[in-house]
Symmetry: C2
Subunit: 110 residues, 2 copies
DNA sequence: CACCACGGTATCCAATCGGTAACCACGCCC
DNA sequence: GGGCGTGGTTACCGATTGGATACCGTGGTG
């Protein structure tokens, strides 16, 4: 997931000045995820960077972090309304990238 | 221009991995501009960075650079069709940022 | 000839980014 | 009580970014 398909590879798009924030947001679009669940699709992201991105997203109000102590330790990350609203322009970008994939590749080659 | 208004200040959005590329594109949306004309609205961007952004945008096919030798040396930068098409999602982001300005500020404060 | 505008380059340097790897506290479960 | 899973943190370090500043070649122009 996200190896080749995302615009980040061909047209690096950074939201919040953070290399991975955009991908994290997209990983959360289908509902809350735990830290370890996020690590699966974002295998290329080091734990340090994932934490850093999540903290930044939390600080800026895009993501809500909820900690449950029992029965097992669980931490849930989910989009806030603000975060969900950001998905719209983000998807616009991704759609654009898909539509212009060939042109991007052509331009890059020459 | 672009001092406080652009999302780059509050929600850094980098297109092409480049800090200023987004602003450069927006400066070109109303037609061709010369290097020195771009320097005016982008006063905060050092010449080095501006050149770097323009070169990257040219390499990726978003901007066309045309050089005229006579009568005075002039270099025009203008958007290609690809570049113009990128303005759409870019504007979506800017509109989003304007709409959620207050929420962004609120989240940042707390 | 001297000077100026234009469109950049060159150099230096500090700060940031991001990857690797190791470590850690807590609680459960065998 | 020893190991494991969870959700991280810490230290270290090289690479990249980007800001400031000075400089430069070319071609008009007075």
């Amino acid at each position: 997931m996200f190896e080749e398909i995302c615009p980040s590879t061909l047209l690096p798009l950074r939201v919040g000045g953070d290399k991975w924030a955009g991908l994290v947001l997209r990983c959360l679009e289908d509902g809350p995820r735990r830290y370890s669940e996020l690590r699966v699709p974002l295998a290329r992201v080091s734990p340090k960077m994932l934490t850093q991105s999540l903290r930044a997203l939390e600080r800026d109000g895009f993501v809500r972090r909820t900690e449950y102590a029992a029965p097992v330790r669980r931490v849930m990350y989910e989009l806030t309304d603000l975060g969900r609203s950001l998905l719209e322009p983000l998807r616009a970008f991704c759609d654009w990238a898909e539509d212009h994939w060939d042109e991007l590749l052509d331009a890059r080659e020459s």
